[in-house]
Amino acid sequence: MADIIPTPTGHVRLGSNAGQPLTRRDGVLKVTGAATYAADNRPDGLAYAVFAHSSVARGRVTSLDVDAAKVHPGVIEVITPANRPPLGRDPDGKAHMFSWRTEALQNDTVRYAGQPIALVVAETLEAATEGARLLAPRYAAEPARIGFDAGEAYDPPAVGIGSPPNFAKGDVEAGFAAADQVTETRIETPLQYHNALEPHAIVAAWDGDRLTVDVPSQAIAMARNDFAAYFEVPPENVTLRSPFIGGGFGSKAILNGPQLLCVLAARMVGRPVKLAVTRQQMFGHLGHRGATRQHLRLGVDGEGHLTALEHNAISTTSSFDDFLEPAANASHNLYATPALKTHHTGVRVDTGTPGPMRAPGEASGSAGLECAMDEAAAALGLDPLEFRLRNYSETDPASGKPFSSKALRECYAEGASRFGWAGRPLAPRQMRDEAGCLVGWGVGTAMFPAPMFQAKARATLARDGTGLMEIAAVEMGQGALTALAQIAADGLGLDGDKVELRAGSSELPDGGIAGGSGHTATAGSAIFAAGSDAVRKLAELATRDEASPLFGAGNAGVVGRAGRLHRADDERRSEAYGDILQRAGLSHIEGEGAGARDPADAAEYAMFSHGAVFAEVKVDPDLYQIRVSRLVGAFAAGRIINPRLAKSQLTGGMIWGISFALHEDAIHDPRTGRPMNADFAGYHVPVNADAPSVEAFLVEEVDRHVNALGIKGVGEIGVTGSAGAIANAVWHATGVRPNRFPIRIEALLH
């Protein structure tokens, strides 16, 4: 990265460690199995819990054969609504904006298939599993409501997490009336379940009124506080450890009922208890992406400029809580239009409550919007990339604010060049490969907000020349331990191998939420500030110490680098950190820092990462099997801390786009509401053979407003743009416009 990117002024600069494509610091731990995930914990005296789940989607549990379970060898305890001890907080309450209504055996109501209805604790996993089966539940079942048409429609008070459900700017009807062309696009997206490689698991152990939980958490401090509230102990009595997460994607940000039951069980039986959900149980209470049915109208004038854009989305949620996939909001901030209208309708169905799943709203809404843009471009006879450029927005279409930075034009150019977009025939079915397969090219724009949460960090410089950074940051496979350590090293003015980063525990300063693609920006800002603070204190010591070669340099006149403070105006005069501390009689010195968005910048600017994704698909001309033969993305996301890890995040997101376009599809039986493909044999995600060539390129972008470090985020943006680009390539290959994701062979058959 070029050195023109501004760095915070002070004693340290970002860019010695940050910006380097380092490999993962925890790579060896992970590939050798030494990294400890929640379910790997086996404290002495451990008992195992398994929950029985409902096989009906709506009704009441009328009987459970508790006696049969209890007499099974090894079964210790059976928890049902009849004996479940009280909780300090109502599982059906909404204590804060990240509270989801959940099932912790508060009553016998069944509201979706897969809902926990009892918990069995036993000496072994096998005994607990069989005990749960022996409960042989009986139900008073009511017909399940599954699908857009069976569910109850309503006007939601909000979509996503607290976003307004509707938006309008300008007069869309006037825009359509003035348009030379109006195109309509209808598309559906299915229910999708997160299915991180690591299924959810928790190990809970009580010591008096102190609780230790090993549980993967994307929001460590928030979860710690929630556990404390449920179990009526002070937050400082709860230790939550989450050193490694095997993928979260949003599903591990929110507390869920079985976690509460496991903690309850540990208290009831007076032993540590482990609960690890099965893959099948991942299709129930742990959140999912709700299905959407989208309808878009695009009005375009003779020059190919949008005159109006309308995006309506119907999103499914549960019968008892609200999380609406905010799909239509994907149209708010991308293409320039004088008139913009978005609208959401909710449909209540008998599934668990959806939740944020990697790019919630952006993924499904981008798929719809990019298909609609392609359809409009084709109707105009215009290259779809040219059409997007004609509707490039210089300011945020929804708010009118300037962008804090926007290198999307450069992304289009870089992506098109890397892909070889030039010369693409306008009409479909024009290209074949040497084997006779239909070949199609499609493009989609990627975009994702650049939010920040709040985080704190604590830095320590020790006399031995090492540094310690402490923050409850979250390593969930994205590489946080590595990227944040790079920022820590720069913040402390140390080489990377002299810095220890302690993360993943509630005993550490609050690292905020690892979600919304804002973790590196938020935790990184806190870390850099904490490191800078420690070096500032060290500089004060040195410049006031007559024995130091830095004496009299003035507090602002020294810089920290590789474990030494140097005079800014004379590099030859320097002193090691350890020597300064030793002479001061100190073993160490501490600094503190916080990370959060500057409210003034937030008020003034619209902040987004951008990208352009280009897809090539090959489609058998008779059998219609589809393969994404090439996927090329170019992304601008502010300062990149670790290009290797950023590309890994981006390509992972793009592969998720393949998954969205061609594979993921949770099938619920319409009569019972049960998920019928609740395992990896039935619920497909891409394998290596489905992603033969996926490349992400980074486009340089300087952002002086998003935060002091110029960091946006890369965690979710790769999903956006990709699914639409693939669908558009399928059209270009076959001439068939998909109207549902995933695109099935039968949908193309003719």
């Binding site: 008779d622 059998l623 019972t672 019928m676 497909h684 062979i745 058959l749």
Partner: protein, 360 residues
């Protein structure tokens, strides 16, 4: 998972005796059985572990040229056995198109023949399934029927057999060798699996305790080795069961087909030998311009009796297209080497040589 007895017999006779008890099940690779047990779909009272039985893991060429594959040979070992691949390339291709390397390392030949349907309603213990529980009913009717049968199904059951391996085997007249309490016997693979009829739980002709000891490929199978392909249609490029598949094998002399074999996978409760198609191909020149039309007519004959078992009518058309393509590919010749994507529509098509024999 229920409590069960685990026994490890030392001989085939001991195994048969141990497995003759009600509720017993043989355990070999366990790639299907253990999943079924964990799901609660299958709850055997006794597992008879045959993995240490001697003499069941060899691939032998018999004096008459037949190939005898021991029941405990793994899918991976068979698919990489040079002599076997040369003699039956489409069988190897089918094996390698299935599952994943890890599963193929564990799964066995006998277990592949014995694998259960992937019907979601069979797997789900809370759904009614006549195959799992006779007389319970069939919740697959009216449910998600995309993967269900279009041939040979009944009101009692619309499930399909998921094997890839069995499809070319049934085309090549493979024979199942069986040991039982009354001695050894053998059954043509084509007659081994039962169509559901009124009794879908009666899945095979095996009698209680009987054990598959080997699969035998008759010597005449080698006649087709130069023109044998397996083609498998599915959305995911690898590691997915077939939406529909076909194995085509042609014996060609002087550029004309003297004998044709066609079988379909994932269309019925058994690997489906499409005998009705085969006469359409005999005497046809594979290099003639109209071969694809002939192949299509043969494929239509193969599916003549097909009818949708739900919302899966398009599967019939797809099956015809897959069968047609498999025949065209077989006519072009077996590939000189195993394609990188075995059985895939994205595998390259070999160029047809004048002799119609690219396999050497």
């Amino acid at each position: 998972m229920n409590l069960f007895d685990y026994v490890r017999p030392a001989s085939v006779a001991e195994a048969v005796a141990a497995a003759s008890a009600p509720g017993a099940a043989y355990l070999a690779g366990g790639t299907n059985l253990l999943d079924l047990m964990k799901a609660g779909t299958h709850r055997p009272a006794r597992l008879v572990d045959i993995t240490r039985l001697p003499g069941l893991d060899a691939i032998e060429v018999l004096p008459d040229g037949a190939i005898r594959i021991g029941a405990l040979v793994t899918n991976a070992d068979l698919a990489r056995d040079p002599a076997f691949v040369a003699a039956a390339p489409a069988v190897a291709e089918a094996l390698l198109s299935g599952a994943s390397p890890q599963l193929r390392n564990a799964a066995t030949v006998g277990g592949n023949v014995m694998q259960r349907t992937r019907c979601a309603y069979f797997y789900d213990p809370d759904s009614a399934c006549n195959r799992r529980e006779p007389g319970a009913g069939c919740d697959a009717h009216g449910g998600d029927t995309r993967g269900q049968a279009v041939l040979g199904w009944s009101e009692a059951c619309i499930a399909t057999h998921p094997s890839d391996f069995c499809v070319p085997l049934v085309a090549l007249d493979a024979v199942v060798e069986i040991a039982g309490a009354d001695g050894a016997r053998e059954v043509a693979l084509e007659a081994f699996h039962n169509l559901p009829g009124d009794d879908p739980a009666n899945e095979t002709v095996l009698r209680p305790g009987e054990l598959i000891t080997a699969i035998r490929l008759p010597a005449e199978a080698a006649r087709f080795k130069a023109h044998a392909r397996y083609l498998k249609l599915r959305e995911r490029t690898s590691y997915a069961f077939a939406l529909v598949s076909a194995a085509a094998s042609l014996a060609i002399e002087d550029g004309a087909i003297v004998e044709a074999r066609l079988a379909l996978g994932a269309v019925a409760a058994k690997p489906w030998r499409a005998r009705a198609a085969e006469p359409h191909l005999v005497g046809v020149s594979v290099t003639a311009a109209g071969f694809e039309e002939v192949a299509r007519r043969a494929a239509e004959a193969a599916l003549q009796e097909a009818r949708p078992s739900g919302d899966n009518a398009r599967k019939i058309e797809l099956a015809m297209r897959v069968a047609t393509r498999a025949l065209v590919l077989a006519a072009a010749g077996s590939p000189a080497r195993m394609p990188a994507l075995p059985g895939s529509v994205f595998a390259p098509v070999p160029t047809l040589t004048a002799a119609g024999d690219v396999h050497g």
